[in-house]
Symmetry: D5
Subunit: 147 residues, 10 copies
């Protein structure tokens, strides 16, 4: 058994049970972004969180333990994602990558936006011309050290 | 002459003149995100915008014309970006890609967040534990058509 | 169980039953292009459509549910398709890619042809020198936003 | 000197002179699709066509000769195109590739749509919900030979 | 079940029964080149041909049906083949690719040798310095269309 | 100076002078296949052959010397050729690769067709349904040694 | 069943039985280099050799037959080998590749060292500063043919 | 100026002067294998060696200094070499890679053949069936450390 | 059975039993770095070490034997690691690669730091600004040989 | 002008002037590791540091300004480095990557070693069996956030 098998079991169970990530997240008591990522095998749960998930998806004790193991991260099967919904994010980096870099350095100096000390929120933005996906990302600025 | 040469001339001139993208954007009358991307060869300017930029960077008439030609987009030299500041964004897609997909579909149904009808805002978020990079993305949801 | 397994079951069943996509599409009440793509795991069906397909291919309730889940899109095993019938389309992009771009921008300005708000129709075009494949693609033009 | 240099000279001249492909095509007496592709280094001109182009873009006799040499085709710098306008076509193949294949074989039997005995027409399709890009492709069906 | 499984079954059966492609081809009444390719999952058989093959290799009715389905072509596991016998052909293209192109264009004008309306014959060529592999390829010339 | 520069000079001169490979080959006294490959930087000329070529293309003494240096072979800019005329040969290997292998081994045992002790002849094959490209390849069979 | 499965069975059996390639080779009556390669699925055995191997590893009649089928060669899972023991050989080609080429051409003229009419011998070379791996390769020189 | 430019100058000069690596090596007082590699930009020369080379090829003082700088090694433009003379060595690794590994471990235990504490000798081996390229490689065995 | 299966069994058992690498290492009597690597299929154990591990993880005799076979090294599924914890090390090489090279050559002359005669120690470094990962690497310097 | 040109000028000047990184670093007043990386175009200098470097290498005012611009990081021309001195570090990640991950998580929990808040020290370690390269890396541990 490995983490991937547990992830696939969770996904299949969710399809079968007709659940929503937002509801699952509420039961876990964490954001839907973090909980979804965790269920998809990208975050590490603590005992309590794993128990809630195990309960929802009828996982065995061994499967539950895998939820508490830090996973080998990376959720995509190819370097450039083929799925259009995900590809658009890759496209944003391709088009705006150097812009992100210029503006971060202009505002903060040399360094990066952390992808570890990071959180995000994805929600619906009502708009008369068609609703929009609104994503707020917040990552700690980490300055390069001179030594 | 081609657009890449104009982009490189703009970058070199900016280094030499010690300008800031925020100030340049203000002169153009558009957001710093869009103006930076445009100066880096990723967006198309209209006559008025190109004139402001040509003025700032002392571009010739021919160089100015290139700013009004739709560019071949893509700002990165490699499929996976090597620069750490830009790589972190790639990492976010790698780790959160399937999460983005799940949550967009859960909220909106089958479709994508447009990377064309899109805008974003990058700013400093003050935080006692260290300031954070805050990015708000807003893209129109486009539903897949059944026909 | 996952969507790929359902797709493979549908394909195998179709071979075995000797059905035609055009007939299946008629039963679903949608175009043969959309229905074929949906059966091949590239589009999302609603309850009604999934029921028709489940009926035709003798799918279980769980398999039917997978047809209603938005799939991870991408139908090809390699970046450059090896199958000659599909490769010719890749070749058209390789040869005509910059031409598509020039003509779309000349007619519409900066923007793209949507691959989401998109439909197409593939049919036989009679020709004394040998019949031809005729494909009509129609995608909404989406202009790049200045902000 | 090589064909690429002539292509770049044509593109730069077009930007500078502010011409349109449709007008250039009319002077050549061929479709805007073929003429654009030819000017972008993807098709071979005959003496007469090359003379018109050489005239418009002030090409030398040697440059004109290159227009009559069959080019090494392929207009894109990367296997997967980064430019969003062109990428959408790649995405269509990725999503619809197996659908194209199924429907061509269902209608015609085993074979391909020729990308050589091929023509296409790209035009504006008026639509109250936003105008659309309409592309009609027509390629001769070529059956696989049994021998 | 899919075509690949049928192909593997045929190959394993051939090893076990100690048959020769030339003999199998004779029973099918087609060239050894086409029949071998068809058995290896690269060509489509008609009912009659499939029946002969099913008979030889003891295939089930369902397996036989797969032989009549147009396969997803491509017989090699890597872009550059590792097997030396096959690699030598790749090497010929690498070394002679531009020569093929020049000579085809010199003799026929702009166009290609079809790989669809194509046949070939591989045989032994006796030679006192060591026998040689002799391959005759014949593909219809297809001229690029001007439109 | 290097071989590539000499090759490019030869190609440009040929375009300019309007010569044919068949005529050049006749002057060299070798087949058009070998002479074309040699001029394109894929074969090594001896003093006499190089002198003929240098004469035709007005090469300097130093340029002539490069024709006598064994080149770094490989005439294509990408692993999978983008040019359709050359790609069709790659496609033949992709589709027929395992067939070549099976038939060579069936006829000769374990070994390869040499791409070094190799010659070929490309010519027009008249056909009422459209002329064909006819290519005869002849390579020495080399058996694997057991030791 | 296929050759890969037989290879894996041989490797597992060797681990379990604690045999040495040198001893196995002696029983086969061929060099340890050739026999090891053959057991690892890279060479073709004759009836007699296959019988010895089948005997040692308790192979079935069908498994033994696979040893007599010419394999699809290529023993490495990646283009650049990750295993350090094997990578060092790749590194030698990377560093000395052009040197091999220069010295072979200087000594023999244009041509290659055959990897088919080839044999090698790997042995221990005693050395007071630490024993050395000594490899002697011998491949027939094959001159390029002019035709 | 960089090392690559010096390498290219040396190669061009050698072509022009008609020298042999064996003679150059004799003047340097080192093996032809090491001296060739050094001249091709893969080894570091000391003052004395660099002076001899600078003398032979009429290098400037600055060019000579580059010969004494440790180069960024790697002599091939692609991961898999396209040149047949060099490719055969890559093929040997592909076919014999696992055999090298098995036999080194069987004789020496876990470890590698050093590609640093390494030397080799390439020479002609007379053979009535055609002369052979004979290469003797000798690399120190380095055992993996347990700690 | 193969080494990968044994590795996966060890990892699953460790998750299930809730053990720590440091404790396992202590029982083996070697560093936690070496023992972890060995359990993850990257190092070769001797009889004694394998017995301890087999005991801890309840391995069969055959599984234990695999621990004593030199593995095919390489622990990552992709060339560029997707997991952020591991990617940071790749990033260090990307950013500092040329710096490592310069400083090693400045201090030692031409040569490498051995990755075979190598050991390392990873530990916690207390720091009031947040604890740090401290890694000490020690590899024997191996000078390039001149011959 | 761009940063790469300044880097190349610095490297060429260093070769010409025969300087040492350690001495340059002392003048800058920072570690040799950071200063070397900065001179090689991987770190950002402040005004004071840039002035020292400009002074040493006789840079123009414009060149000096480039030293203060945050560079696009990534010092290697290929994804897998070909240079053996640098490759060994890549090999360490390939072999020890999963070990690094396991031990960091065991000691610190889920998170990474920062490559931004990072410093390192490379020095000679005397050893009777041959001196060793000793590298101490210290990077802040960054825990994944739950939100």
């Amino acid at each position: 058994m490995n983490r991937l098998e547990v992830t696939e079991k969770i996904i299949a169970a969710k399809v079968n049970q007709g659940l929503k990530w937002a509801d699952i997240a509420q039961k876990v008591g964490r954001s839907k972004e973090w909980v979804t990522a965790a269920c998809l095998g990208q975050m590490t749960m603590n005992e309590e969180q794993a128990s809630v998930i195990a309960d929802i998806f009828k996982l065995s004790e061994e499967e539950k333990k895998w939820l508490m193991v830090t996973p080998y991260r990376g959720s995509l099967p190819t370097t450039v994602p083929t799925d259009p919904t995900i590809y658009r994010f890759y496209e944003l980096i391709s088009v705006y990558g150097t812009t992100f870099k210029e503006l971060i350095h202009e505002e903060f100096g040399d360094g990066i936006m952390s992808a570890i000390d990071f959180k995000m929120d994805l929600k619906r933005e009502n708009d008369p011309n068609g609703d929009r996906v609104n994503i707020v990302m917040s990552g700690k600025f980490l300055p390069y050290k001179v030594y």
